[in-house]
Symmetry: C2
Subunit: 292 residues, 2 copies
């Protein structure tokens, strides 16, 4: 590296960071799928605990993985026209939005069927705030940058805010997932404790040693799956897997955040395109655009 401009040396590492982010993102989706599919009784769409299981999978796939990839397109497609990359950015975010809506419907359906209050936990408050801001950001992004509705002055004012909130929402998505993981693990422990007490009262054989006790949902429906009977503090397989999922989500967010904020990974400026396109330098003197 000595004697070589940092930006040239740095740019060669971009594909490795992008590849790393994709490995991390796919690992997050797969581990969420395995957690809900294997440990929590699989998937359904009937108001049961299995319908709840659709929620984590959709949120990790939509609001983390696809959202992160939508942010990365400006660094991955460096030589394509700005307009094409913008359309891809908007489309990926639209997919993320649709999948998140499916995930939200799943959890509201489950709560309604099980007569559990909606929106009482910190996870739900943070998650809903993230979703609403994401939806607003997507609408504003369309209006300001993809359609010719906003003036140059307005666009240049909104661009750094769009970038700031884009990264903030990625962090909030990851944070909301981590809250959801903690909530799900602790609720599972509570349900299992209650179930063990019910079983011991009605003379059922002790199930502490069993690895395959059914998991009660609050609807009274039974979903098969191994247990957290030893409780979270005894490092059960499910708890460790879910913790690892949490760390991988953080790593995905960190790698995406690093790639999009690193100076020498920015798209090379194209003066011809800049003059024609919907992308404007900010008006203040001497300021560089904090653009995607």
């Amino acid at each position: 590296m000595e004697g070589m401009p940092l930006s040239m040396g740095g740019l060669r590492t971009l594909p490795w960071f992008v590849a790393g982010s994709q490995v991390l993102g796919v690992a997050c989706v797969v581990i969420t799928g395995v957690w809900m599919g294997h440990y929590r009784g699989g998937y359904a769409w009937n108001g049961s605990a299995q319908e709840f299981n659709v929620h984590p999978l959709c949120m990790v796939l939509g609001l983390v993985f696809l959202y992160g990839d939508a942010v990365l397109v400006y660094r991955v497609f460096r030589n394509e026209t700005k307009r094409s990359v913008k359309i891809l950015h908007a489309l990926l975010h639209m997919m993320a939005l649709i999948i998140s809506i499916v995930g939200l419907v799943a959890v509201f359906d489950f709560h309604s069927a099980a007569k559990i209050s909606h929106m009482y936990s910190l996870h739900s408050w943070c998650g809903m705030l993230t979703f609403v801001l994401f939806f607003l950001q997507w609408l504003l992004g369309l209006g300001f940058f993809l359609f010719p509705w906003a003036s140059a002055h307005l666009r240049s004012w909104y661009l750094p805010l769009h970038v700031f909130f884009g990264l903030l929402l990625l962090a909030m998505s990851v944070g909301s997932c981590l809250l959801g993981i903690t909530e799900k693990l602790l609720f599972s422990i509570m349900h299992l404790k209650r179930e063990h007490e019910q079983r011991s009262r009605c003379g059922f054989p002790a199930c502490v040693r069993s690895r395959t006790v059914p998991c009660f949902s609050t609807t009274g429906k039974v979903a098969p799956g191994p247990d957290l009977a030893e409780t979270y503090s005894k490092f059960p397989g499910e708890g460790v897997l879910a913790n690892i999922l949490g760390l991988l989500l953080v790593c995905f967010g960190v790698v995406v955040g690093y790639v999009v904020t690193r100076e020498d990974f920015r798209r090379p400026p194209n003066p011809e395109e800049e003059a024609l396109s919907v992308h404007f330098k900010t008006l203040s003197e001497g300021e560089i655009p904090s653009s995607p």
Copy 2:
């Protein structure tokens, strides 16, 4: 704003953002203090649940509020010499570090006395990762920027990483606090459920209607305080207060993050100081330093 450079108009808003961050930060510390002091039985240093209560207060005060303020000094003290601001930055971070260590000792002490495993939850994994990275970042910051040990090339290489990890660690601190809030609320519900069952078995009067049942810690010690008996999903006062604390912590992180990343809030460059000081432009051509 029309016709005025954005940067001039923008700079006038800086004191409002800084004041807002301080109101939010103090509110977070006060609410944590009230939560632990009023609802969770107050403070002690004897291995009991009251020693645990020192943990949230120290982490919010140290790893969020003081950490955030240490980051803000580069924007607040715009006209002081770079070296003075650096020393203040390092000192505030040192205070944050010491207070965090007290908070960590409190929770390890409590776990040891109550014979609970250490480091099993996602909160503990994320929190410890944040603390270790923060400690490393502080040591590297001292070595690279405050003492004349590193070469100009090394400093210019590390500077953007220091800035990136500084903001990342603020986000991770806030995220770890949110995980801790969720964990604490759900554990409190579990303990209260167990206590209610024990009471009903031994003929104690039903305490569901009581607002002042004592809170059992796993050590068997009793701490006075209102309950979460209606459980989290019935919007008890404690649950709502803790959720609001979570949102305020997010807001504090967002305001600090916004102030330090906004282009027109940067310190004005001082060529004389730049030439003399430990702050260097990056070596790559045309690149602006992503400096604090």
